[in-house]
Amino acid sequence: MTGSYESLVLKGTRHGLLASIREDADWSLLVSELKSLSSGGEGFLTDASLTFDFGWRELTENQFDQVISALHDQGLTCNGILSTSLNTRTIAEERGYRAIIGRLGLAKHQGRRMRREKDGVDEIKVAEVPNTVIAPPERVEAPTAQAASAPLPQAPPIEPLKIEDSFEVPNDHSIEEVQEESSQEAPRIEDEEPTLYLRKTLRSGQKVVFAGNVVLLGDLNPGAQIEADGDIIVMGQLRGTVHAGAEGDKNSTVITSSMQATQLRIADHFLTINKKNSFFKKSTQTGTLRARLNGDSVVVEALR
């Protein structure tokens, strides 16, 4: 369910309605579109509660109040905001709204996609159809290979981790969905599932929830969590908790070069890893490992 607004993208997520504000959209256009959420072109919004993703945009107190009053006039409420700007978050928090550091960048992503379509560039080169009736391993290898081959050469070395994009993850147990769209290249494949690239260390207490695949270029520390509807690839040390196929996709896998997790979850199954593997003992297994669901049990195997 995607509304056709110019300045924002509405998306239904498992945590409610998300309104991603295009970072380059004109403010007055945005306000007028916000005012027409319940009456305008789409007209399906009543009594809804929205989460806003303001991205990099820095809001003034006045602008924030404009957004809230536009919502209130239509009987809509604000659930909370996502923003990378400390000022914007502070303004929201002062007014009693939950503010989370980060951004999804969905709106801009969408905008770029629309631009591409307009320019007539056919980007859909690989006709990969996921979720067809292929045996699990094959299905897995395809997206993995794509994910690994396309973005990684451009990515900077994993360590030291520079948070140049300042991708921050929530600090309390709140939920955040962040999607990076890398600045140089647009996604090559029109995946059914989007992929989130995170280039940082996820520390204890930080949690990333994403309705798609997650690729972490950095460590997942003990106590940190990734919950993805699709596959999870951790390029650093995997020490935290990962949950692939959180929405129940049994074909989801976890791929990492350093398996030091204490627990692995895939769909509705989980594997507790023996204490011998953790903390004191460095992972003795080298090479890329893959965890997948084999019947009713999670198995970890070397990936060739």
């Binding site: 550091i101 921050e168 204890s204 460590d219």
Partner: protein
């Protein structure tokens, strides 16, 4: 009063977990910086659990405290500052004992830190344990952070959480003090080594302080260990202070300290004489 020409630096000493040695670290770093001629103020932000004054032996001099200052009960912060017995350029601002953490707001701490910056070279905040209001108050005005942790899984886990929170609060200089290191246990593989901790936290190591029984005694006496030339922990803290002032100074590893080397040489000599 101040040595440097630049504005002072506000450093918060924090850990997440309690009992890892935040207050001891604050007192020692403060005394160390003061002994090098810098003007230093230490602020105990642990409202309701006042103890920085005890470690420095200044309990009986407290008239006004942090809450009095932010509530404007004294004329200026200067009236509430308690001058140290040993160093003229070291003072502390005690916390209130009979109030709660919410007696102070982050904006008030920020304002106070900014005022103090003009008068002191270093403002060191002793943060309470936990990640609630007290922590938020303490980090509100900080430019830099020193995370104190012990080589224990639980302390490291909490420190990791703290580093995440500090990063989110846009405090970008975060350095680590690994406290209560027992080289013997590490050698036997029973304690996390410095590398193990660094592997997880991935932040710059400021120093490592060995476990030292003398520190209990020096805290009880109200004499910072850094002033005790025989204390191993004191020596490590002198190294920490040197590294705060000049990051190029190398870290002293407690396992290869001059003292242990000297002891080894001496015992070897004695052994030779006896034999």
């Amino acid at each position: 009063m101040r040595k440097g020409n630049n504005v002072g630096k506000v450093i918060v000493v924090t850990s997440g977990k309690g009992g890892v040695g935040k207050t001891t670290a604050t007192a020692n770093i403060g005394a160390g910086l003061a002994s090098q001629g810098h003007s230093v103020v230490l602020i105990d932000t642990d409202i309701g659990l006042r103890n920085l004054d005890l470690v420095l032996g200044l309990e009986n001099r407290i008239v006004f405290d942090l809450v009095d200052v932010v509530e404007g009960k004294c004329r200026s912060f200067r009236q509430a500052l308690i001058k140290d017995k040993r160093f003229d350029n070291l003072s502390i601002l005690a916390s209130a004992q009979s109030r709660e953490k919410d007696a102070v707001k982050p904006e008030q701490m920020k304002k106070l830190c900014n005022e103090l910056k003009d008068a002191f070279d270093f403002i060191i905040l002793d943060c309470p344990a936990g990640i609630e209001m007290g922590f938020k108050n303490a980090i509100a005005g900080a430019d830099e952070a020193i995370v104190v942790t012990n080589p224990e899984v639980s302390a490291v886990r909490d420190a990791d959480r703290i580093v995440g929170l500090l990063e989110a609060a846009e405090i970008n200089t975060i350095r680590l003090i690994l406290n209560r290191v027992k080289p013997g246990l590490i050698k036997r593989g029973q304690m996390l080594s410095v590398t193990d901790v660094q592997d997880i936290l991935n932040i710059e190591l400021l120093g490592q302080v060995p476990e030292d029984e003398r520190i209990v005694h020096s805290s009880n006496k109200g004499e910072p260990a850094i002033l005790d030339p025989r204390s191993k922990a004191g020596m490590a803290y002198r190294n920490v202070v040197a590294r705060i002032l000049d990051p190029a100074v190398p870290i002293v590893d407690p396992q290869t300290s001059i003292w242990s080397k000297l002891r080894r040489v001496l015992t070897a000599d004695l052994g030779a004489q006896v034999g």
